[in-house]
C-alpha cells in the first residue's frame, strides 16, 4: 500500500514551531502596547494592555459560561426533535 504523504502538521516540531511563533507574537504585542499612543473614547482604553486583558478574560468567561452554564441547560439528545 502506498504510504500517505506527510503533511505540515503531522510533524510535532511544526506544531511546536507554530506555537512558539504565536506565543512570541503575544509577548511582543504585550510589550508594544506600552509604546503606542492610543486614541481613546473612554479613559480605561488607555490603561496599559487593556485590550489584551479584555480579550483574554472575555474569551475565558465565554468558554466557561458556555460549557458550564449554557450547555447543561440546553443540551439534548441528537434525536430530541425527531
Amino acid at each position: 500500500m502506498e504510504k500517505e504523504k506527510t503533511h505540515l502538521f503531522d510533524k510535532p516540531q511544526n506544531v511546536k514551531r507554530l506555537l512558539i511563533i504565536f506565543f512570541s507574537t503575544v509577548i511582543l504585542l504585550f510589550i508594544l502596547d506600552f509604546f503606542v499612543h492610543k486614541h481613546a473614547h473612554f479613559p480605561f482604553e488607555t490603561w496599559p494592555v487593556f485590550y489584551a486583558i479584555f480579550g483574554f478574560v472575555a474569551c475565558v468567561i465565554l468558554v466557561l459560561v458556555s460549557r458550564f452554564v449554557l450547555r447543561p441547560l440546553v443540551k439534548r439528545r441528537e434525536d430530541y426533535y425527531e
Partner: protein, 590 residues
C-alpha cells in the same frame, strides 16, 4: 433612461427562462445574468425614480439613492458568486429559486413605496423557503415549514402596519417612519422578524443549516440584509435598536461555542454580526449608518465565503458536524485557505474586511459615550473570533484528523470562493472604494497605529485564551447533541398544545359525529319509517297474543303488520284512500 430597466426585472424574468435551457447554456446564463444586471444598475443614474400608476396610487417601483445603491451593488456581487458556486447543481429549482429570491431582495431595497416593498418582501420569503425545501429531506421540509410560518407572521404584522399607516397618512411613501403609533410598531416588528431579533432569531438558526449547500450561501446574503436596509431606511436613530442589537451581538456567541453543526455555528455568528449593524442603525449618526451599511456589505462577503467553504466540505465529505471532521487541510488546502480568509475577515483582523467596517460602529458607540454598548460590542468582537474565526477552520481543517481523504472542492466552487476571498482582502486593504459607495461621506480612517495594535492585541489574546483552554482540556469538546434554543417553545410545548387541543377537539368531534350524525339520525329515521307499524302494533297489542301464529303457513301478527306497512298494503292505506276520496268529493261537489 429608456434602455435601462428595474434591477429586479432582470433577475425575476431571467429566472423564469432557466427551465427552458439545457445544462451547458444554463451554466453560462446564470453567471451572465448578474453581470447584465450589474451593468444595468451602473447605467441607472443616482436619484432615479421609476413610477407606475396603479389604481389610485402612484407606485415607485425603483428608487435609486445612495442607501439603496450600496445594497444593490453587493446583492449583485452575492448573486454572481453564488451562481458560480452552485454550478454543480443539476436541478433547475435551486437556480430559479435563487434568482427569484435575489431578485425579490433587489426589488425590496429599491422599492420607493410601501406597497411595492411589501410585495417583494413576501416574494423574498417564497424564494427562500424553496431553497430550504430543495434539500428534499424530512428535516429540511419541516424546518422550511417552521421558517414559512414565522415569516408569514412577520409579513402579516408588516401588512397590518402598512394598511393602518396608509389609512392614517394617506401616503404609501416608504421613508423614515420612526416609532410613533401602533402602525409603526407593527411595521417595526415585521422588519424585526426578518432581521432575526432575539427570540425571533430561531427561524435562522433552525432553517439555514437545513438548506441545500448553495441555498445557505444565497440565504446568508439577502433576507437579514434586506431587513437591515429596511431598518436603516425607516428607523435610523431609534434607541431601542441599540439595545436589540447589543443583545443580538452578544448572546449567539455562547450558543456558537457549544454547537456541533458548523453551518449552525455560522448561523449564530450571522445573528451576531447583524447585531453590530442593528446597533449602528440605532445610534443613527452618519458614521454609525455608514458603519452598518459597510458591515452589511462586508458580512455578505465573508459570511458567504465561510458558508461556501463549509458547503464545499459538506459536498466532499458528506459531513458537517465538528465531531465528524478535522484534518481536512491535507486534502482540501485551497478550501482551508479561503476559509481562513473568511475567518480573518469576520474577526476583523487588520487588512481583512471586517476591520474597516465593524470599527465604524464601535467608534460611533464610542463617540456617543455609550460605555455599556461599547463594552458588549468589544466582548462580541473577541467572541466572534473565538467561534467563527478559530473554531470553524480549526475543527474542520485542523484539530484531530478524522481520516477523510477526499478531493479538493470542485473548480467552480474554488473560483467562487477565490473571488470572494479576494474581495474580502481588497475591501480590508483598499477600503476607499467601499467607503465611496456608503450613504454618507466617509471621513473615517481605520488604519491608525492605535487601532491596528489594539485590535491585534484583542484578537491575539482571545486566541491565547483558546489555545490555553484547548491545551488544558477545559475547552468544551464537541458533542453529538442538539442545543435547544427559543424554537423549543414552538417545537415542543406549542406543538404539544396543538396536539392536545387537536386530540380534545377531534375527539369531541368524533363522539358527536357518532352520536348525533350516525346513531341519533339513524334511530330517528328508523322510527319515522316504521312509525305507522309501531303505532298500529301498539294499539293492537293489548287485544292479541304475542308471537302466536295465526294459522299454518302464516307468520305471527307482528310479522304481518310489519310486512303490510313495508309493502304499503296495510288496511290503513285503504282507509286513508277512502278518506282522501271523500275529501276530493266534498271539494268537487260543494
Amino acid at each position: 433612461m429608456s434602455n435601462v430597466m428595474p434591477p429586479f426585472v432582470i433577475f425575476i424574468l431571467g429566472a423564469l427562462v432557466i427551465p427552458f435551457l439545457n445544462e451547458r447554456v444554463r451554466s453560462v446564463y446564470v453567471v451572465a445574468l448578474p453581470v447584465v444586471g450589474f451593468i444595468n444598475l451602473l447605467l441607472i443614474p443616482v436619484d432615479t425614480l421609476m413610477t407606475v400608476n396603479f389604481l389610485d396610487y402612484q407606485l415607485t417601483l425603483v428608487r435609486i439613492d445612495r442607501l439603496s445603491l450600496a445594497f444593490g451593488y453587493i446583492f449583485h456581487i452575492a448573486a454572481f458568486v453564488t451562481a458560480i458556486y452552485i454550478l454543480h447543481v443539476r436541478k433547475n429549482l435551486e437556480y430559479v429559486a435563487g434568482f427569484i429570491y435575489s431578485g425579490a431582495a433587489l426589488g425590496a431595497i429599491f422599492a420607493g413605496d410601501l406597497f411595492t416593498f411589501f410585495v417583494f418582501w413576501e416574494t423574498l420569503t417564497v424564494g427562500s423557503v424553496m431553497l430550504i425545501w430543495a434539500r428534499c429531506t424530512k428535516r429540511s421540509s419541516s424546518a422550511g415549514f417552521r421558517y414559512l410560518m414565522i415569516h408569514v407572521t412577520g409579513g402579516l404584522s408588516l401588512l397590518a402596519g402598512i394598511v393602518m399607516m396608509v389609512n392614517e397618512t394617506g401616503s404609501i411613501a416608504f421613508g423614515n417612519i420612526g416609532l410613533t403609533g401602533l402602525s409603526s410598531w407593527l411595521i417595526f416588528f415585521g422588519f424585526g422578524v426578518n432581521c432575526a431579533w432575539p427570540f425571533l432569531h430561531t427561524w435562522l438558526t433552525d432553517a439555514y443549516p437545513e438548506a441545500t449547500i448553495g441555498g445557505t450561501v444565497f440565504l446568508s446574503a439577502f433576507t437579514t440584509k434586506t431587513a437591515v436596509y429596511a431598518l436603516a431606511r425607516a428607523y435610523p436613530g431609534t434607541e431601542l435598536l441599540i439595545w436589540i442589537g447589543v443583545v443580538m451581538a452578544a448572546f449567539p456567541i455562547f450558543f456558537a461555542v457549544i454547537e456541533n453543526d458548523l453551518r449552525r455555528v455560522l448561523a449564530y455568528s450571522l445573528v451576531n454580526q447583524v447585531g453590530f449593524m442593528v446597533v449602528g442603525i440605532g445610534i443613527g449618526t452618519e458614521l454609525a449608518i455608514n458603519g452598518a451599511v459597510a458591515h452589511a456589505f462586508n458580512d455578505i462577503l465573508f459570511k458567504g465565503l465561510l458558508f461556501m467553504s463549509m458547503g464545499a466540505v459538506m459536498y466532499r465529505t458528506g459531513k458537517i458536524n465538528a465531531t465528524d471532521l478535522g484534518g481536512l487541510y491535507k486534502s482540501m488546502p485551497w478550501t482551508a485557505g479561503f476559509c481562513i480568509v473568511g475567518a480573518a475577515s469576520i474577526s476583523a483582523f487588520p487588512l481583512f474586511s471586517g476591520f474597516v467596517s465593524k470599527s465604524m460602529v464601535m467608534s460611533a458607540a464610542g463617540e456617543g459615550h455609550m460605555v455599556g454598548v461599547w463594552l458588549v460590542l468589544l466582548f462580541a468582537s473577541a467572541g466572534v473570533f473565538h467561534h467563527a474565526g478559530i473554531k470553524i477552520p480549526f475543527f474542520a481543517f485542523f484539530g484531530h484528523d478524522a481520516g477523510h481523504r477526499v478531493k479538493e472542492a470542485p473548480k467552480h466552487m474554488l473560483i467562487a470562493m477565490g473571488i470572494t476571498a479576494f474581495l474580502c482582502i481588497f475591501n480590508g486593504t483598499f477600503y476607499k472604494p467601499l467607503y465611496a459607495v456608503l450613504p454618507y461621506p466617509a471621513l473615517y480612517e481605520p488604519y491608525t497605529l492605535s487601532h491596528v495594535v489594539t485590535q491585534t492585541e484583542l484578537l491575539f489574546y482571545s486566541a491565547l485564551a483558546f489555545t490555553l483552554l484547548l491545551l488544558s482540556g477545559i475547552y468544551p469538546a464537541e458533542i453529538r447533541a442538539v442545543n435547544i434554543d427559543f424554537d423549543w417553545f414552538y417545537r415542543k410545548p406549542l406543538n404539544a398544545f396543538v396536539n392536545g387541543v387537536a386530540l380534545c377537539l377531534n375527539g369531541f368531534n368524533r363522539t358527536m359525529d357518532r352520536l348525533l350524525v350516525r346513531e341519533l339520525t339513524g334511530a330517528v329515521n328508523e322510527v319515522a319509517t316504521n312509525a305507522m307499524a309501531i303505532v298500529a302494533w301498539a294499539i293492537m297489542s293489548p287485544f292479541v297474543k304475542k308471537g302466536v301464529p295465526l294459522g299454518p303457513g302464516q307468520g305471527s301478527l307482528k310479522t304481518r303488520v310489519d310486512l303490510a306497512f313495508a309493502t304499503g298494503t296495510s288496511p290503513v292505506g285503504l282507509f286513508a284512500a277512502c278518506a282522501g276520496l271523500f275529501i276530493v268529493m266534498l271539494f268537487v261537489f260543494i
